[in-house]
């Protein structure tokens, strides 16, 4: 990745979303700077998934804006996110079945390929060179994540953990500046938590702004620089992992009133 100097990353300001009469997100403001991991935690129903969907354009917010590196992203237009270098993974695996792992990753570079679609009918030397570059880059990424031996396997033949990794590698092929990871640990066995943590930390080291939406507290507390706690659609508090763990309001939101120790949140 290129230098991270003064890249502001992702900025969300005053986002509101209601379904029917129910306010799922009210006035959410948060920031995920480049080169750092910002985590969003919160109990079920806090609005985490909706937030991820607003950022990535799958849900249109009622108010508020999503800004990446100073550019305001059009609300509810998921297809525009790639050109603004915002990538995301999905809570439920979203992979391109029927294609090989290499092709899946190459799809990540889709929006960076500038040739016209009609030009693909001719597939002139430039288009061919583009294709080769994309495949080379995809292979390099697969090597980095030790998946190169899987390059030609159909993606649906991979074990779940590897398939999730392919999904993340596909996002990297976009050369994103911001990624939103929606529950990356969901469905993974505990043994996979450590390699996953290393992978995510690696993204931030590359200068990417990471917004990590996660249930797994151990993962969140171990790698995040900044934690935002969402409760009933509002930012309850935010701070460093240590600060958040000590905050009585967080304990109450998670464990119910009456819980006094922070024992159960420190793992």
């Amino acid at each position: 990745m290129t230098s991270t100097i003064e890249r502001p990353g992702l900025q969300i300001t005053g986002v509101c979303k209601a379904y029917g009469g129910l306010q799922v997100l009210s006035d959410v403001t948060l920031r995920a700077p480049a080169g750092a991991i910002t985590a969003v935690i919160g109990p079920n129903g806090a609005g985490k998934s909706t937030l991820a969907n607003v950022i990535s354009g799958f849900v249109t917010q009622d108010r508020g804006e999503v800004v990446v590196n100073g550019v305001r992203l059009p609300p509810g237009k998921a297809v525009t996110r790639a050109e603004h270098r915002l990538g995301r993974t999905f809570q439920n695996l979203e992979i391109f079945t029927g294609m090989t792992v290499l092709q899946n990753v190459a799809m990540g570079a889709y929006s960076r390929q500038r040739g016209s679609h009609l030009g693909d009918l001719v597939r002139g030397p430039r288009a061919r060179r583009d294709e080769i570059e994309v495949k080379e880059a995809a292979l390099a990424l697969l090597r980095r994540f030790r998946l190169e031996h899987r390059a030609d396997s159909l993606v649906e033949s991979l074990p779940f953990g590897e398939a999730k990794l392919v999904e993340m590698v596909r996002v990297l092929a976009m050369e994103p500046e911001v990624v939103v990871l929606d529950e990356p640990a969901a469905g993974l066995p505990p043994a996979s938590a450590l390699p996953l943590a290393e992978t995510i930390a690696g993204l931030a080291e590359d200068g990417i702004g990471v917004l990590l939406i996660e249930h797994n507290m151990k993962l969140v507390m171990s790698i995040s620089q900044h934690v935002v706690v969402l409760d009933q659609g509002q930012v309850l508090t935010e701070g460093s992992p240590a600060e958040v763990q000590q905050d009585p309001r967080v304990i109450e939101a998670y464990l119910g009133p009456g819980a006094t120790t922070s024992e159960e949140l420190t793992l």
Binding site: L102, G108, L139, G256
Partner: protein, 348 residues
């Protein structure tokens, strides 16, 4: 660098390339096997069907959306070329070039209107469009000659050379079919083909990488129209007569079935389907009365034997939709605020 790419990493596109070579090989070999005037006439029909099905393959096979408009587009191309040459003395070369453009524009118009519909409704919209075209062929009597057909279409000619010999007719159709197949192959193995397939596999992920389904599918549908336009113009110059019944509902269905049974979405599908259609045509000439009944039975057996073949694409996408439904259920869980309980359970 190249050695790595030439390795198994390209198996899928290599299969497509093999299938392209088989297609091109058959176009060369078939007229060598039988080169009587009658045989060449049959091979010309086959090449025209090949173009028609290669076009249909973009929308039906790759994008996975059943189109029943292809017969209507075929007819539009034929009538456009026929009317231009008969009524307006347009040179055949120009007619061959313009007919596909007209059909493409019509296809894009219909596509813009219907592309956002769910698959079965898209199919019904294409059926409606195909039927409107078919009816117009029969009803606009002054322009089309009506049910009796349009007669007196000149042979194809370029620079004063008339393509009346069967071998010349075949050559023209085969060259265009080969160019069409090569272009289709290029598209299928490049990012555009990948993206078209990707949309069927995972709509959210395709959106997230920036592939616009609307534009891609419109492109696929427009291309199916362009190819149908070429095939139609060739048909007009080959038969030198066009009548509405060639482009009816039955033809639309037959095209889809031939492609699906032969392998929709694959490079080999169109040539196998074209051979099948040509076989049916030859057979039907001898048993005209029994043709519909036998066709129907064969078709029903094929659908019952290969239900995934016909509906595989659609079923896969249905599962996707169920996944999406699950996701909106997750969203509902997000909405149904139940604060304190779950985290403990997750931690343990």
């Amino acid at each position: 660098m190249m050695s790595r790419l030439a390795g198994p990493a390209r198996t899928m596109s290599r299969r497509a390339t093999w299938e392209l070579w088989i297609t091109l090989g058959l176009l060369v070999v078939l007229p060598m096997l039988a080169a009587t005037d009658y045989a060449l006439h049959i091979w010309t029909r086959m090449a025209i069907f090949l173009i028609l099905l290669t076009g249909l393959n973009f929308i039906q096979g790759v994008a996975g959306m059943t189109s029943l408009a292809q017969a209507g587009f075929f007819g539009l191309g034929a009538y456009a070329a026929g009317i231009a040459t008969v009524r307006h003395d347009v040179p055949p070369v120009l007619a061959l070039a313009l007919a596909p453009v007209l059909v493409t524009l019509v296809a894009l118009l219909i596509g813009v209107l219907s592309m956002r519909l769910k698959e079965i409704y898209f199919t019904m919209a294409t059926l409606g469009a195909g039927f409107v075209l078919y009816l117009l062929f029969g009803r606009m009597v002054e322009l089309t000659g009506g049910p009796n057909g349009l007669v007196g279409i000149p042979p194809f000619s370029v620079g004063g050379v008339e393509f009346t010999e069967p071998i010349m007719k075949y050559g023209l159709a085969a060259v265009l079919a080969a160019i069409g197949a090569i272009a289709a192959h290029n598209l299928l193995v490049s990012r555009t083909g990948r993206a078209l397939r990707a949309y069927g596999a995972s709509e959210p992920a395709a959106l997230a990488v920036g592939a616009s389904p609307f534009r891609l599918r419109l492109l696929a549908f427009g291309l199916s129209g362009f190819y149908a336009g070429v095939a139609g113009a060739l048909e007009a110059f080959d038969s030198r007569f066009v009548s509405p019944s060639t482009f009816d509902f039955m033809t639309a269905v037959l095209l889809v079935v031939a492609l699906v049974v032969s392998g929709a979405g694959r490079m080999i599908g169109p040539i196998l389907g074209a051979l099948l259609l040509t076989g049916i045509e030859v057979f039907a000439a001898d048993y005209a009365d029994y043709e519909p009944l036998i066709m129907g039975i064969v078709f029903l057996v094929a659908v019952q034997l290969f239900p995934r073949g016909v509906a595989g694409e659609l079923a896969a996408r249905r599962e996707d939709r169920r996944e999406r439904a699950k996701r909106s259920a997750d969203l509902a869980a997000d909405v149904a605020v139940d604060a304190p309980t779950t985290l403990k359970a997750v931690q343990r």
